[in-house]
Structure formats: C-alpha cells, structure tokens
C-alpha cells in the first residue's frame, strides 16, 4: 500500500508540556483510520501536526512520500484537506461562497474562479448533499448542515487525504450516520481519511483501523476488535466499560458499565453497585473503583454476557457496520493492507 500520510516517531510539546510522545502511524489510499482517546490525550494536536499546522519537535511527517516541510502550503492544500472541529465560519457568507473557498489553493492570491472551479465546488456540494443549501447563509444552518458544508468545502479541495476532527460532534444520530456514511463512501472511492472520534462505537463501525492515544502516546493501533479490548479501554479511559459485539456485524460495541436502573423501574440506592446484580457474573460490585481490570476483562466472562445485552446494543450502536460492508464488496485487500501499516 502506498502511504499518503505517515508520521514516524513524532513528538510535540506546547512549551514545556509534552503533548505527543513518539507517535507513529500511516494512512494510505482508501483506508479509514480512527483516532480515539480521552480528552487531552493529544488527538487534535496529532491531527494538527498531520495537517502541517504544527511542526513536530522530533520525528518525521511525510506527505505523498515527501517530507512535509518540503511540500509547499498551497501544494499541500491541493491534496490534503482538514475539517476542524469548531472552526469559525463568517455567518453572513452563503454556503456557496464558503464552499467555493475550498478552491483557494488552486487560485493563488489574486486569481479568479473559472468554470472548472465552479464545477468542482458544485460537485462537492452534491457529494456532501448540501447543494440545496447553496444560497443559505451559514449563520442560519443547523449543526448537521454546517458540518456538511465543511465537508463540501474540504471536497472542493479535491483532496487525497482528509483529516477530520470529530466530524460528528453536536449531531443527532441521523446526521452522525449520514455524515460518516458519506465519508466512508469517499474512502471507498480511494480517499485516505484520518479522523478523531469521541464515539468509540462509530469508530468501531466505520474505521478500518483505530489508533488509541493516551497521554500523548499511542497505546494500540489496529483493527477495532484488536484495539477496543476491555483491558485497553479501562486502562486508557480509567473506567470499566462493557464491551460486547454489534448484534449484526462482528465489530466491538462499547457500552457504559451498566444501568442504575434494575430494569424494574427501581433506582439503585446510594452506595449500591452500579451494575445489575445476579444475572451477570461480570458485576462484581467494585467496578468503578477498581484499578484491577482483570475482574471485568477476562474474555470468557465478557463473552458470556453478549446475548443478554443484544437489545441495548442495537439501540445504542449504528444500525450496521460499514466495515463489514466493505469486506463484502471485496474491499478485503485494501482493508487488510491498511491494517498492516504500522500496527503494533
């Protein structure tokens, strides 16, 4: 697999504060790498380093086989697009004007848009399904619409690499699935995507590979089932989680440790263990406090609970797994090759 973007042993510090330590990963054409980790683990910083907005203190970033420093700013912007998390959009501008800004790297400082720029912007709006918004002002859009506009602007750059910082934040489930379905389609067409996710289930369902960051270090990278183990997640997120399998596809589904409700409408009292008692061996009554992850993470204990939790999973996780779909369509080769990039 040709790697479009690769980070080799990258470290970065804000002043004295180390944010990234010795991180290596790579993304190739047609692969979707998810970046997960707790708040402050360095996800956004990693994305900013990958986008060339921050210069790493150590290590190498390579873009299209060249050192990033050698790739000019405009040249880079013609092949790599970034979707920021809370980017400012001037509210009085129309969607069309904002999407057309995606053509900036092709125009230089004084150029005017020509017909091909208009076509590219229009196509991008169609792909991101926001063409009907063209004449609306961006200040009047909902969160989901706004995000689609940002996706359209990124697509107007006609990138080969797309970096996304929480593309589904502030969205309801409908728009989350629609947005990420769109991104997955683009991955199928050959786009290389590196995306930060807060929602582990979305990452598990859509990403070929996920990278788990903790305190600036890469804890694990690989297929979601390899990375989202009870051991990894409890260690990194400092909270015990219930890990099961998606009822439809064989990807991991991550759930809160349990319900405060017994299921019969009674609230658990103060001091009572947070998990349903009796039915599950898993609930040993010491989960929240326990640093000792072993009690909850043994594979056989987890497995024993899968059947019982199925209904809850189907309510909380996306309806289907994108990755399974990719496999069925013969995407295995790409998927497999994406996995062997720098998995550890």
């Amino acid at each position: 697999m040709e790697s479009l973007l690769s980070l080799e042993r990258v470290s970065f510090r804000y002043g004295e504060l180390p944010v990234l330590k010795d991180v290596s990963l790579e993304v190739g054409s047609g692969s979707f790498l998810g970046l997960v980790g707790p708040n402050g683990s360095g996800k956004t910083t990693l994305l900013r380093v990958a986008a060339g907005l921050l210069k790493p203190d150590a290590g190498r970033v390579q873009l299209f086989g060249q050192p990033m420093a050698k790739v000019g700013r405009a040249q880079m912007a013609r092949r790599l697009a970034l979707l920021p998390q809370n980017g400012n959009l001037p509210p009085a501008f129309t969607v069309w004007e904002v999407v057309l800004m995606g053509r900036t790297p092709f125009l230089g400082y004084f150029g005017r848009e020509n017909a091909s720029d208009l076509v590219a912007a229009e196509r991008a709006m169609e792909q991101a399904r926001c063409r009907h918004l063209a004449d609306r002002r961006v200040g009047e859009l909902s969160g989901g619409e706004r995000q689609r506009v940002l996706v359209a602007r990124a697509l107007a750059q006609q990138p080969e690499v797309l970096l996304l910082d929480e593309p589904t934040s502030h969205m309801d489930v409908e728009h989350q699935v629609a947005t990420i379905d769109l991104i997955a389609e683009l991955v199928d067409q050959g786009l290389a995507v590196l995306a930060v996710f807060h929602d582990l289930n979305l990452a598990a369902c859509y990403c070929h590979r996920v990278a788990l960051l903790s305190q600036g270090r890469l804890v694990a990278i690989g297929q979601p089932a390899e990375v989202f183990t009870a051991e990894n997640l409890s260690r990194v997120f400092k909270v015990e989680m219930c890990i099961t399998t998606h009822p439809r596809d064989s990807v991991p589904a991550v759930l809160p440790p349990g319900s405060r409700w017994r299921g019969d409408g009674e609230t658990r009292g103060r001091g009572e263990p947070p998990l349903p008692l009796g039915e599950h061996e898993y609930a040993s009554g010491q989960l929240h406090r326990s640093e000792d992850a072993s009690s909850g993470s043994e594979p056989d204990r987890r497995r024993s609970r899968e059947g019982g939790e199925g209904k809850i999973c189907s309510a909380a996780a996306p309806p289907h797994c994108r990755r399974a779909g990719v496999k069925a369509e013969g995407g295995i080769a790409r998927h497999g090759s994406a996995g062997d990039g720098s998995g550890r």
Binding site: Q75, M101, T104, A134, R136, E174
Partner: protein, 359 residues
C-alpha cells in the same frame, strides 16, 4: 434523510445575473459619490448653482469654451478651495472606510475601527510633538506636522505588530490588546505634552478635532498615493480576505500564508489611515459604520465590500463636510460631529430593517 427529501431548488447563481448585480451596485455607489462631490463644490459661504459649477470646472479643464459669466473670484474659490477640499474628503472617507472594513474582517470583530492598532494615538503623539517642539517656521510651512503624524502612526503600528508577535505568529487578540496598550501609552504622552505646553493647547486641540478647513491641492496630492495604493492592494486581496474571516487554522489549511496576508493587510490599512489622520485629524464613525452599511446593502464579500466601501465612504465624508459648511455660525463645525449626527440614525435604521446577521 432531510437532504434527500428537500427539493433541490437553489443553484449557484448564473454568472450573467451576478455580473449585472455587481454592475448595478457600482453604478449606485459611483452616482452617490458624484452627487456628493457636486454638492460639496456648490455649498459654502458663496453658493454656486450646479450649472455654473459644472461650467467653471469644465472650462478650467479646457473641455468647454465659453465666455465666463461668473466672477473670477468664484472660479478661484471653486478651484483652489472647494475642489481640493472635496478631493481630500473623498480620499479620507475612502481610506477610513476601507481600513475599517479590513480590520473588521481581519479581526473578525464588527466593532473594529481604523484606529485600532494604535494609529490614531501614534499620529496624535507625533503631531503634538511637532507642534510643541520649538521648530523653525519654515518646517511648519513644509508640513512637518503632517509628516510627523504619518511617521509616528506607522511607528506605532510597527511597535504594536512586533509586540503582538508570539513565536512566529501574530494572534489577533494579542494584536488588538497590544494596540490598546500602545494607544494608551501614546495618549498619556500626548496628554502630558499638552499639559506641559499650555500655550499650544488650542493649536493641538484643533488639529485633533480635524477637518478639511484649509486643504490645498498639495496636501491632497500627498495623501492620494498612500490611499490609492492601499485601496488597490486590499481590493486585489479581497478573495483571500474572505478566507481570512475563517480562523487562522482553516485559512492555513486552505493554503493561505496567513501571517503574510495579515501583515500586508494591516500595513496597507495603516498606511491609508495614517495618511488620512495626518491630513485631516481624527474623524470618527466613518470607518466603523460605512463598511457595515455596505455589508447590509450588498453583502459581506470583500471583493465588492472593499471598493464599494471606498466609494460610499468617500461620498459620505464629502457630504458630511458639505453639511458642516451649511450650518450657520462663525466657524465650520467639526466634520466628525456631522458624520456621527447624520450617520448614526441612518445606521440604526438600517440595522433595525435587517432581520438577520450582517457581519
């Protein structure tokens, strides 16, 4: 999904329609400026009717061969007093409006005005120094006050910009705060100078109030290059200025050299402001409000916002100066009073008409 359900109605505007729209805007703005200039030439202690005014100007330019039916003194008044005054008003109005529009966009702050990066305070200090210092009279006649104001305004901007630089970049908020701080320092020094040189108080104060009372062609010619260059440069960078309205990260990831563009825009806007302050003192309100009026009327795109702001700002200040001459009294009232007195209600009216976000 909502996106699929909705009927696709909106298409990007066809080029023909938007080109016509653009032409219409410029026609309106140019007509407003010409009208304002006409009024500016006619109004004053010796009023002229429009026909005579046009005839005087055309014959002076050798475009019209007629036997003068007007007194020679009127020709002198028009050509040597009113016309330079109108030209200066137009230049200063354009400079302040363009600088205001640029800063508002660059700082993403609708309250930004041309004096934001310490230019006004710097110019004030420079001019006060020149007036307070015991300089030979010949220097004053050469316009040392204007040069001192212009130079110190640019110095203040350079100081603000270098103070605001943090590790290779210039964050907008730091720039604004440094501007406020340097401005306060310069103002304090100006106040001290005024206190220490009580005998010059009236001269200094009347300079600061500003206006176009004694404008010559020479002064207008000195101001013109800075203003025209700045307007041209900023207009050409209009599309990039739009991109700068996003945050720095987004602009950078779209391939824009953010620091370079920021520097060029700030320097150009400061150049225009410094030139206008040195010639006409501090005239408030124009740079703040004209860009907003243009945004309300014709949208926020800097490619049209900048040139239209220049035209509308010029028309507005020329009319305001004519208004200042119309008010009866021993002296012309300061033009800044007129700009605020007439501009503020109109602006509020537009603001109330507008139901949605302007900026």
């Amino acid at each position: 999904m909502r996106g699929v359900m909705e009927v696709v109605v909106a298409r990007p505007r066809p080029a023909g329609r938007s080109a016509r729209l653009r032409l219409g805007r410029y026609t309106v703005a140019v007509a407003a400026l010409l009208l304002a200039c006409m009024v500016g030439v006619m109004v004053g202690k010796a009023p002229v009717d429009p026909g005579t005014a046009v005839a005087i100007l055309l014959s002076r330019l050798h475009l019209l061969q007629v036997v003068p039916w007007w007194p020679a003194s009127l020709e002198t008044i028009l050509w040597e007093i009113r016309l330079p005054r109108v030209a200066m008003g137009a230049l200063v109005g354009a400079a302040l409006s363009v600088a205001g529009a640029t800063y508002q966009g660059l700082f993403r702050n609708p309250l930004a005005d041309p004096y934001l990066v310490g230019v006004a305070a710097g110019a004030g200090l420079g001019a006060t120094l020149a007036m307070a210092a015991p300089l030979p009279a010949s220097l004053y006649s050469l316009g040392i006050i204007q040069f001192a104001a212009f130079g110190s305004a640019l110095l203040a901007m350079a100081l603000v910009y270098s103070l605001a630089r943090v590790g290779g970049s210039t964050p907008i908020t730091t720039l604004v705060l440094a501007g406020v701080a340097v401005g306060a320092l310069a103002n304090a020094m100006t106040s001290f100078l005024m206190y220490a040189h009580g005998d010059k108080l009236a001269v200094i104060y009347s300079w600061m109030l500003g206006g176009f009372n004694v404008t010559t062609w020479r002064q207008a010619a000195l101001v013109a290059p800075s203003v025209l260059i700045a307007v041209l440069v900023i207009s050409l960078l209009g599309r990039v200025a739009n991109v700068m309205q996003l945050d720095d990260d987004q602009a950078r990831s779209l391939g824009v050299n953010v620091e370079l563009v920021k520097l060029v825009l700030v320097v150009a806007a400061t150049l225009a402001t410094a030139a206008s302050v040195s010639a006409a003192g501090l005239i408030g309100f124009v740079g703040l409000v004209v860009p907003h009026v243009v945004r309300i009327l014709w949208g926020p795109d800097h490619r049209s916002l900048i040139p239209l702001s220049a035209l509308v700002g010029a028309a507005f200040l020329v009319s305001a100066d004519a208004g200042a001459r119309l008010v009866p009294g021993p002296q012309d009232i300061p033009v800044g009073v007129v700009t605020a007195f007439c501009g503020a209600p109109f602006f509020l009216y537009l603001l109330r008409q507008q139901k949605r976000s302007v900026f």
